[in-house]
Amino acid sequence: MLKNIKVEAYRGFRELDVEGLNRINLFVGQNNCGKTSILEAAQILASEGNVGALLRSLRRRGELLSANEMERNVEEYDVSHLFHGHNLKLGSGFKLEGLNGKTVSVSCEIIPAPQEKEPGQLPIFDVEEGSQLALSLKVGGSPSVTVPLSPFGGIPVDALRRRPLGMGSVSYLGGDTTEVPPIRVVPTEGLENRSMSFLWDGIALTPDEPKVIEALQIIEPSIEKIAFLGREAVRSSAGIVVKFKNSDMRLPIGSLGDGVKRLLSLSLSVIRATGGYLMVDEIDTGLHHSVMEDMWRMVITTAKRLNVQVFATSHSQDCINGLGRLHQVDPKLAAEVSLHRLERGLPHSVRYGPDEISTAALQEIEVR
């Protein structure tokens, strides 16, 4: 479990300290205050410097350089957005640090593109002609790794699939990365069917299968079974079907509304994050305020049982109040939660402990 996170010059943050991380961490704050960035920072730290995690965050945000505009074959990850002020110039850099039993740190600096292949300074793939800059990534005490940038300042999206020059494994740059815990990410728009189907494959017919049904029953108490129909499930929601008690019909999950699908995404992801991390953007998306308390109960209970640390964001006071109500009926479970508000102009997050979340709900205090 990460105990704290410190970021410097990363995305919108000049500097930010997040202290007092708990098993479940809910990040709140105004639009564009950096909630998602913190989730990504947590993900990069949790993965101990996985370049893939860094690049996927760019893809999720659509921060890509268009192939058309560059007149190239493939689009590129626009890494400038990772740096404070979107500033891609020599010497720009950011740093992420966390305490995870040990100190984990990831730092990234813009350096001149390597001209010759010096031993120990090998770029992880070929340097293109005309390239000026490269990223130097350093994870903990390991030697730094050079990631060349294209002449446009990006990383071609297929670069990591190419045969790497300097590293045996491209994605992981940490020193000892054989034991990286699972990290699941649920974006605001939910999981694609392909991802849900993949997660389900590890759960079907295990003792966790009934837990997935229970999660769906938060909204539809008479759901009895769920099935993923082979290739169909990968292609469309018509391939994920449920059966209701006292009914012979099977219904596509898409016909049950966004809430059920959200709960499915959440329960599959938290179960398959066993021993690792779950990152959820806008955890309350698609959920009615009346089910918030039960959603939290499901997420917290499962995370506790399977030793998962959860990082989530929300805009919704209903979502926070759901936690407050949970505290009133089940303080032991709610004690696993901390809320962190990101406030522009403050170099640290504002932390609310479990009792304070409960007080806020009781006294109608807006903490978001």
Binding site: R341, E343, G345, L346, V350, Y352, E356, T359, A360, L362, Q363, E364, I365, E366, V367
Partner: protein
């Protein structure tokens, strides 16, 4: 009455102990051109916490959450002790109150540089007392019925009236209110119908603090 036209989502909030405080303040500031029915920017949402203890418990959470936070509490018997309790609670979130309360009401910097936290101890930030003590100072000077109401409340107690001694000023003020043109109005309405004056030094000091905190 609720300050309906100021949203409970406002970043400005005033925490008070009870409904009497809430209504008194709404009507008092209205007499000073801050109308909750037609609210100017900055006017806080007022929330009654249900007493001093819940208010104190909500203090650190509220101080972390609002750009402008005010609290109005009764000094009761020991103003110094009340002040120190509030001071201690705010200190836990890094907000520093001075050792001694400002007579005109305290306003200090909050969690962020441009945030503010204000504290008002009823009646006047120094003496023992309650909301009723504050209101008793808004009774028109030389009101004969005010003295008579005091004597009556005492006499009633001698005759077996059940109010506890600590509520004498409540009994006194409600007795007096029952003799007004519209008998038995609650505090707020009585302010609006001018049973109470709103231009006394105490009233002006309170409104001054309120404006400094929320509208300044």
């Amino acid at each position: 009455m609720k300050p309906l036209k100021v949203s409970d989502k406002s970043a400005h909030r005033l925490l008070v102990e009870g409904k009497d405080d809430l209504n008194t303040i709404i009507h008092l500031v209205r007499r000073h051109e801050l109308d909750y029915d037609n609210p100017p920017d900055g006017l806080p949402y007022i929330h009654a916490t249900g007493g001093y203890v819940p208010l104190l418990d909500a203090l650190s959470v509220a101080a972390k959450s609002y750009k402008r936070l005010g609290i109005v509490i009764d000094a009761d018997l020991d103003p110094k002790a009340r002040w120190n309790e509030v001071r201690h609670r705010l200190d836990t979130v890094g907000i520093k109150l001075p050792e001694v309360a400002n007579a005109g009401g305290e306003v200090v910097t909050g969690l962020v540089d441009n945030w503010r936290v204000g504290v008002w101890l009823m009646p006047d930030n120094s003496q023992a007392g309650t909301l009723e003590t504050f209101l008793s100072r808004l009774v028109p000077h030389g009101d004969q019925c005010w003295l008579h109401a005091e004597a009556s409340a005492k006499e009633a107690k001698r005759l077996g009236a059940k109010y506890p001694d600590k509520y004498f000023s409540k009994a006194h003020i409600h007795t007096w209110l029952s003799w007004q043109e519209v008998p038995g109005q609650p505090f707020g309405t009585a302010i609006t119908s001018a049973c109470f004056r709103t231009d006394t030094p105490d009233a002006i000091a309170f409104v001054g603090w309120f404006k400094r905190l929320f509208l300044g």
